[in-house]
Symmetry: C2
Subunit: 233 residues, 2 copies
């Protein structure tokens, strides 16, 4: 690599970000045009464009056609969350994965579940309750509703052998996913299954997935005490 190698778009991004971070451009300020940056940094406009796109994606900068690019006056923290399949998560942490089906029944979902799935009228669904274990210890308790309209084959799957989580992920890719994170006190039943005291603070990941506009499943995954979701960017 020669000393004056060409700048990659990441170099350009870092250059511009540093200029912003150093205070050379204050929040709300308008930045030079892409073409000017290109001239300043001696690279192509397309390179600056890619860099700016990235800065825009990460919430540092705001871009508007004709309006130009300006430093976001109200920065937001944007971070990528990654939620793997539970078996993989356990194994990646070095644990031995285990799984228990607790209950499985077709039922008409309550209004809350219909709302999460964006259903106006209740449709028949399969409710599956299961426990995921790590090294024999309760790890995540899931309470899942699966749309029988969208996934009728689920009736034929043996959910004592394979978790619905895993089967769906492998057989029913989704096009959209909503997440909802919060904390709840353990109910008596959940507490018993998770091996904790009733009322304990539990972390919940609620996830609904769709294929196009058809709901596939909505899960409430209740994590055992001590569970943490970590991101970094």
């Amino acid at each position: 690599m020669s000393p004056d190698a060409r700048l990659s778009w990441k170099d350009v991004r870092d250059e511009i970000r540093d200029a912003i971070l150093s205070g050379r451009y204050a929040p709300g300020d308008r930045l030079p045009r892409d073409a000017d940056f290109a001239a300043m940094l001696n690279c192509a406009r397309s390179t600056v464009q890619r860099a700016m796109q990235d800065l825009s994606d990460s919430g540092i900068v705001e871009r508007r056609r004709k309006g130009g690019t300006r430093v976001r006056p109200d920065p937001v923290t944007r971070a990528m969350l990654e939620i793997p399949v539970i078996r993989r998560e356990v194994e990646q942490k070095g644990g031995r994965y285990g799984y228990q089906l607790i209950r499985q029944a077709e039922a008409v979902p309550p209004a809350g579940i219909c709302a999460a799935c964006g259903l106006a009228a209740p449709a028949p669904m399969l409710r599956v309750e299961a426990l995921h274990l790590s090294d024999g210890q309760p790890y995540i308790l899931e309470d899942r509703w699966i749309s029988l309209d969208t996934v009728p084959e689920i009736r034929a799957v043996d959910l004592t052998a394979q978790s619905a989580n895993e089967w769906l992920v492998l057989n029913r890719p989704y096009s959209r996913c909503d997440l909802r994170l919060y904390a709840i006190p353990a109910e008596t039943g959940a507490a018993r299954l998770l091996g904790t005291a009733p009322g304990a603070a539990l972390f919940v990941i609620e996830r609904t997935t769709w294929i196009d506009t058809a709901p596939i499943t909505t899960v409430r995954a209740i994590a055992a005490p001590g569970y943490q979701l970590v991101t970094q960017s």
Copy 2:
């Protein structure tokens, strides 16, 4: 727009994604080369490249030089989390924002805080405890440590008038941010400040920010009961 308008990279992405979702390519399968897709869809390879990049970012496919592109055998859920400045969050929900400084003192941080900041040796920091309110009700209780090495000016800021959250966001942009999400039972002090019972399940967002490798601040934001973090993608 003519009927056979050129495909945008998003069209190409959707086309390929649909092919995967429909099962035409199964998890683990190798996809055609970018150039082949380009020929099939009658567009440029760069357009396919952008589409594939996006599919790769969202965790649907895996790309390797020479190895080609394959459908991820172990799909992960990736979602973008967006955490605004608290004042904005409250106002966006239509609430009236309020703020109270509870305590502020220079101190040597405990080991846990040093670790979060990646500090080997304890350095003096400013600890700030404050309560954010929505319509007069407790909303988020924050327990913050600010690095006096990185942000000495914070000593001169009147934190009764403006929250550290806001001042830092406007004056100290960061280059890196780690998030940690979990649930805890309310301690006596936190319970009183948040107007809830001791032991109540509370949602916690822990965030540490750096400028390059220098830690700026680490916060533990404890949300009042009912708080939910929502994402969609």
